[in-house]
Amino acid sequence: MSGAVRPPRRLAPDGFRAGVVACLPTVLGYWSIGFAAGGIGTVSGFSPLEVVGLATVLYAGSAQFLFYSLVLAQADTLALVLAVLLVNGRYVLMSAALAPFFRGRGWGEKLAAGLLLTDETFGVAVQRARAGGGLPFPWLLGLNLGAYVNWGVANLTGALLARHLPESMLEALGFSLTAMFVGLLLFTCLESQTRGLELVAIAVAAIVVLALAALAPLPLVLLVATTMGALASALLALRRARGGRRWLRPSC
């Protein structure tokens, strides 16, 4: 808690600008993936307008990659929609996890929060909410719009420029997303009241992914792994709440 070097996570003001600042660590990731998505769109024969349309309407990296490759493979519309549904199915769980923070708030706020939900903004928002900061609407709007604008611009830039950049550079930048989830996971764990149970959820989810990866498509595996990981911890938490042994006290 030696205030000086730490980011102002606990002290953060609730305004729009603070939300935009909270978005900054995700920008590198958005840019690299968005840039790649835009570039692949162009290379796959889509116009910059279509690339930007896809980026701003779908607003989901993995679904955009899938869209390009399935359209190229001449999949029909129904198959395309089902595939996107499967890839984006994890948002059901994230959106549901946000729900308790939105009790008693207007439907407009819920709608805005849900429409602009992404893996990255979800991670950042949950971390703040857990740290006791709640999710004030101007802050959330700053976070979400910051991410949205970056995504659109990155896709457009990628669509226009990707052919001129070395692939190794894009690959290294692409790793920023992985690094960001490492950080978000670490802070989620460090700030949790029940670290042991967070670790159980992490371990179970990871093991399920490794166990099932060869058997089913990844998006489906992610859904099953998330459900089971969270379920394992929830069962242990309930057991503890009912006066079970306290053998899972925090130890991260």
Partner: protein, 106 residues
């Protein structure tokens, strides 16, 4: 091509908006039973862990000697994150680590 593009885009947009908006819109009215609340508490950690595991599995970035540069760079990220508690530095360290390790690891 143009009209089928728009139709596909529309279909994909509808399902994406639904999965994003419906839960937070519909479930935030309810007071969940303790079990569901507990389950939702651990969804963030579980979903991020699952995404990471999938990433390491599908993009290990193996070096010639068989090291996973992705895993090693994630370790660098983790260390820097523990030391600095800064998300931004964690991300920077990961990208720098990934570039350097990709070049240095046998």
């Amino acid at each position: 091509m143009a009209s089928s593009f728009l139709l596909s885009l529309l279909g994909c947009a509808v399902v994406t908006v639904l999965v994003r908006v419906a839960p937070v819109l519909l479930l935030s009215h309810l007071a969940f039973p303790a079990g569901v609340r507990a389950w939702l508490t651990y969804v963030p950690a579980a979903v991020m862990a699952a995404i990471l595991a999938g990433e390491f599995l599908h993009h290990p970035a193996l070096s010639p000697a068989g090291w996973s540069v992705s895993l090693l760079a994630a370790g660098v990220s983790l260390g820097v994150g523990l030391l600095t508690r800064s998300l931004f530095l964690t991300v920077l360290a990961g990208v720098a680590g990934y570039s350097l390790l990709g070049w240095a690891v046998p």
